[in-house]
Symmetry: C2
Amino acid sequence: MLLKTPYLLFLGDAVDPLAAKVAQGIKDWRPEHCVGQFRQPGCNADMGIDDLTIAQAVERGAKTLVVGVANRGGVISESWISVFEDALNAGMDIASGLHNLLIDEPRLVNLAEKTGQSLIDVRVPQHEYPIANGVRRKGKRCLAVGTDCSVGKMYTALALEQSLKKIGKLSTFRATGQTGILITGNGVPLDAVVADFMAGSVEWLTPDANDPNHWDLIEGQGSLFHASYSGVTLALIHGGAPDALILCHEPTREHMRGLPNYTLPTLEQLRDTALSLAHIVNPDCKVVGISINTAALSADEAKTLLADIEAKMGLPTVDPFRDSADRLAQALS
Amino acid sequence: MLLKTPYLLFLGDAVDPLAAKVAQGIKDWRPEHCVGQFRQPGCNADMGIDDLTIAQAVERGAKTLVVGVANRGGVISESWISVFEDALNAGMDIASGLHNLLIDEPRLVNLAEKTGQSLIDVRVPQHEYPIANGVRRKGKRCLAVGTDCSVGKMYTALALEQSLKKIGKLSTFRATGQTGILITGNGVPLDAVVADFMAGSVEWLTPDANDPNHWDLIEGQGSLFHASYSGVTLALIHGGAPDALILCHEPTREHMRGLPNYTLPTLEQLRDTALSLAHIVNPDCKVVGISINTAALSADEAKTLLADIEAKMGLPTVDPFRDSADRLAQALS
């Protein structure tokens, strides 16, 4: 594990609940990792768990203070730093996915050295990854691929893990981005890995399983159809060598995220492109289901759309947030 | 320009001509950049140009000593370092594509600081690249894509540049690997770029052209079908947004380079996969020709094979080394 659990969730002076979405993700998906939250004056987010001082958190066994809030203006403020210093002095590590790195703050670096604690910037690769060797591993792997970036791939994989657990199937969520890494305490920050080692880092993240029926649920990144990040997605497909693909889509998106001149592909285009590329490394790969983020639709609209897509594509189609990923989990068995 | 020209080619104690293939590439493709060569006792390579001392090279205007030889055993030897020190003292920069970095040699770093010269490790990105924005640029772009790694993509692009020049067409070779960068003095070491910035670095490398008929000839990397490096190749396709693709192939290769369990794709598979991915960013992209590395075949065998492939694929098919890239250049016009 990259991060020691359990955590104290640092919400700081979060301007609103959205600013604390990393903390929310940890609380939603790994409540057992959270001993409590630390909030400062002006904090407008609340995870509904105990507010603790640093001393109380240590008493409850907290090993890591996790920065669960986005900072304002790209600066780690003085009021945050003094809390982090208290945490280091009390024997906690600090973990963060902020763009501004903990290791760029000399006061924290000096103190961590003195106290023997770790500063873990999960955006920075913490390992030397190998070049991919393309060798098939034991166990099974599922990867969520999207028509675009930010369409719900991470959520889909986390919901799948929950649904598989309900039916007694073994699985492990494999994080490939900073939020996923903070949630699970482990993973590869794939978009920060050097090009030559991308696929190798995904192989490293999804090693041979002990049980041949164990599923690695690999967090997707980017999109094969997104000009800026498609190479990262292909490295995920070829490093992950998935047995199963799940197509993810947000039906109201008008253009590719950040690329106003690009329309989204159809689900059929995504299916055909992703599957033919996956077959290069795993000829048995199948598309097993579809995950639609219907947050922008009414309940009725969502129901109709899901049914329409299911009929057209011939695959179980769900919104894992509104419903659950249970039908996708069934499709994986 | 990353490197100042002209160069003194450092051949050191090259064990054989193959060990000096970087120097050979510079001499073959940019003879006008080479004032001479520097050889040490035991050197078994010869570029057929004047042997010069450091002082003589400076007199002839040499601005950069280029390490044109692979080192043995992964160490930059003492005898090399003393030559490099002489070059720095004489006012030359030093450029290298070795795995062992110049900037990891404290003696060279200290001296370069003192003399004000530069140590340029072309494997290390020398620039902060942007995230790709997917915006079409003026001018045209051609990219060589391969059924595998190391099938002649760089050679094809350099030969194309020569052939286009012969018929009075404007073009620029755009290097994406260390040898190409040393040859042309500029480029992006794509396999060392951080994942998120791969496609952006290729956009940066191939900016708007002044002349709408100017061709950027982008050096290919990896292969869409190579599990270890396919992500790099897709970033090249989506960052380069090519108008023309050239398919490259080595007909005697028994398996993908370094991946004994993977067979090569057919030229038809490469054509269809690369073209459909290129169409995401440039719907006008076409496959215009085929480049076959027939080094392992007799002249007769090569002639027959090229004719067979040309008939089957319906595209001009050449070995640019045996013949020239003239017919590919015609296809680009």
